[in-house]
Amino acid sequence: MAEFKIEPFPFLWGKERYFGDNYLEIISDQSIVSMAITRGDEEKFSTQFTNIFGNPPPKPGKFVNSIDNDYKFLWMSPDQIFALFKRENLYPETKIQKLMGDSGFYTDQTDNWCQIKLTGPHLIQVFERICPLDLNRQKFPVGNCARTIMEHLSTIIVHDSEEGFLVLSPSSSSESFLEAIEQSFINTGDY
């Protein structure tokens, strides 16, 4: 009997596109691990987090990088953080669990999200058509992240550099999400 080996395949894999000076790229080599903080262990979690990653956990509406820049941590809710880091294997949650111990619960979320990196000068105009959040640089500077919607689709938007944004959306509707962004580029420029 044939032996089948099943491996996950990243959503929207390999897609990239220029819209004038703006560039859209699918991120396929980044793991996402949910860190849920055990109630009553908030201080223990924070101390362990700071000792391991060199910076304290992110504040509401913010993200922080580990001191070696290998990890990015997104604040999701008062007791949940998403950890983003380079994909090494199919079990990224075990890496975080080994580092953090028993002060939280860690689950692999990688296959639940598509990840799109956008860079370029016209992204605010593209997003303001489809997102209710005020992404003006004064209101949403580099270092901010937020869970919100674009069109009607759940979105996590991360202002991770002066050049652009990282956006995440549920993988089940990733094609629609990509189309919403591409259509907004078309609606706001001569592409």
């Binding site: 809710s77 008062p78 959040l133 919100t148």
Partner: protein, 93 residues
């Protein structure tokens, strides 16, 4: 309508789901001698004020927190926004 989230600042009402009267936080004690009457009132009786009203809103497309929003039902002005978790804790729950 804009809801000024206590942790995240102004957010569009489209990110939220409305549940209703914030008195739902105060679930009666099942062991109370008047539990039947208290649960009847808890489940079925609602005030319908024209004016200030405390309501539960869920930030579904955001940080998944429950909020207690004090809103004027006549003008739709939002007077106050609190985390439901803190409202419950402050009331001894």
């Amino acid at each position: 309508m804009i809801i000024d989230h206590p942790l995240l600042g102004p957010r569009d009402a489209a990110e939220f789901v409305y549940l209703g009267d914030a008195r739902l936080i105060n679930r009666p004690d099942w062991a109370s001698l008047d539990a039947d009457q208290e649960f009847y009132e808890y489940l079925y009786l609602r005030d319908n004020p024209e004016g200030q009203h405390k309501e539960l809103w869920y930030h579904e497309q955001g940080d998944r927190s429950w909020l207690v929003v004090t809103r004027n039902t006549f003008t739709h002005e939002i007077i106050n926004v609190e985390l439901a978790r803190e409202v419950a804790q402050n009331s001894g729950r």
